[in-house]
Amino acid sequence: MMRAWLFALALLGTTAAAAGQLQPFTDDSLPAIQKRLAGRPFILTLWSLTCHHCAKELQTLGRLARSDRTLPLVIVSTDTPAEARQIRAALQRFGLAHVDTWVFADAVPERLRYAIDPSWRGELPRSYLFDAAHRRVAHSGLINEAQLRDWLKRQRAGG
């Protein structure tokens, strides 16, 4: 099991350089993402293959992504790198394969949850709306599509 997992992680690490590919999310990933997206608003969504509400969440985001190819989305699966194939298939299915996608890569997932937000207790789906200054608003559970569209509009209007 361990070997399989490490192998999957290694495979992921070597092939995930390009955008639109599943990348291993570690405890320093969010700062790196924020640095790359400095000055730009973005949406960070966390989900899992085994979470029913998460599928609905991805459907919503997929719908948004189809209507707006520039949607600033970062989607992180809290599953394991060993499940990369299923995760990619799901993202593909929901029309999210082209966005910035990641998968938790730590034997203790609590470490990654903590690195993202010590006040997040693991409930899913979980999303964060980052404005251009990267002030963020957290939301647990399904996100409301109309409110999300409204937020996007406001971010773009505000620059």
Partner: protein, 415 residues
């Protein structure tokens, strides 16, 4: 060691009980999603030595332990406070998928006559489907009865998150969350509507069980249930769904009575907390509850005492202490549990500082009126189970299993 925990990582949110059936027919994601869930479920079923264990004290103060090893549920006991354990005895004659992943764990209770009662959730091939199983030993844990299935519908749907309590006089109660009422008609409605709390009762020490009874409809889907045997019989404690989607806690008497709301945190979430609570009854008839919430009114883990009440009455007046916050919220204090014996009440929980887990306990010697300072008992460098408190007149212990350090039985100092 690391590999052991990997399948459980995939299951951070196990909320769907029969979930994919809820998607409107004809939408493309359904089949694909079902296949993905199947794979994740199978990875979990294949887990050989999961971390989540069950523990109990007997009347002699021995520590009993139930854990899954090589896909068998095994029970052992310790006469020296956890220093050494007897050779484990298999409760499951054949390997089976005993779920042991945090909110789901084998449950143990030892009757005053020494009967060892065990309940557990047996995962089935269909994702999230499971049976509630029970076996007992009447020869001091040397042999166990053939496991029986308690959910009398026998449907391949979700029956999970079992809790077990005994009265020491032949009474045995098991509760669980049950999705049997889910149907094609209800599946297209809110996913919160058709999971309920069910119970099975035995009056002959677990030899036979009566028909299942639905205690409550409309419960949260994936938080553990809890049971305490009080002077009024068994009382269940679980995360309920109040109104449209408020996920606060309830108590109900299995002998009959209303669903009584006992927390008012106003946690509304279209998602899954996967983080339940615990209950214990002390020698004076008080109840002691601990729980997690992320509600509007409060966030974190809490303790409260509920004075003896007639839980069979719809207008039962609840005399409850104010919620007492436990642990360090900045260290994600979570997964609290409670045990009580006579006037002694022991609380235990887990914290995480971003790198390491730690386990904490707090002891009251006067039925919850006053509390000793929280004590940090141990740390874990890798993945760790929840803390399991055990208390009697002489001992206050916390059982804690961890991937790197193994199973530890930790002593709590007197306040």
């Amino acid at each position: 060691m690391r590999g052991r925990i990997i399948p459980s990582l995939a299951l951070v949110c196990l909320l769907p009980l029969t979930a994919w059936a809820q998607q409107p027919a004809g939408q493309a994601p359904v089949e694909d999603a079902a296949a993905r869930r199947q794979q994740a479920w199978e990875a979990r079923l294949a887990e050989q030595n999961p971390l989540a264990v069950g523990a109990a004290l007997d009347a002699q103060g021995r520590v009993w332990l139930a854990r899954v090893q090589e896909r068998r549920l095994r029970v052992s006991h310790s006469a020296d406070g956890g220093g050494s354990f007897s050779a484990p005895v298999a409760v499951t004659p054949q390997p089976e998928a005993v779920t042991a992943d945090g909110e789901n764990r084998p449950r143990l209770a030892i009757g005053a006559d020494g009967t060892v009662h065990v309940s557990w959730t047996q995962g089935l091939a269909k994702p999230m489907s499971a049976h509630i199983r029970y076996a007992r030993s009447t020869d001091g844990g040397k042999t166990f009865s053939t496991p029986m299935i308690l959910n009398d519908d026998r449907q391949i749907v979700s029956h999970r998150f079992d809790a077990l309590a005994v009265d020491g006089k032949g009474g045995v109660a098991v509760t669980w969350l049950d999705a049997r009422s889910r149907s094609g008609r209800t599946a297209n409605k809110s996913p919160q509507t058709d999971v309920g709390l069910y119970a099975a009762r035995s009056a002959d020490g677990g030899a036979t069980f009566g028909p299942n009874r639905r205690v409550a409809e409309h419960s949260c889907q994936c938080c553990r249930t809890a049971l305490a045997w009080s002077a009024q019989g068994p009382l269940a404690f679980w995360r309920h769904v109040f109104g449209r989607n408020i996920r606060d806690f309830a108590i109900a008497a299995l002998d009959g009575g209303p669903v009584l709301r006992v927390t008012d945190d106003e946690w509304e979430i279209d998602g899954c907390p996967h983080h339940g609570g615990g209950i214990a009854a002390d020698g004076r008839g008080n109840l002691h509850i601990v729980w997690f919430t992320n509600g509007e009114k409060r966030k974190g883990i809490y303790y409260r005492r509920i004075a003896q009440t007639d839980f069979s009455k719809t207008d039962a007046r609840l005399d409850m202490s104010a919620p007492l916050a436990l642990g360090d919220a900045a260290r994600q204090a979570g997964h609290p549990a409670v045990a009580a014996s006579g006037d002694r009440v022991l609380l235990a929980w887990r914290e995480f500082d971003g790198r390491r887990f730690s386990v904490w306990a707090m002891l009251s010697q006067d039925a919850g009126a006053n509390w000793g300072a929280p004590q940090k008992l141990a740390e874990a460098a890798q993945q760790a189970d929840y803390a399991l408190p055990l208390v009697d007149a002489r001992q206050a212990l916390v059982v804690w299993n961890a991937a790197a350090e193994g199973l530890r039985v930790l002593a709590v100092a007197k306040p």
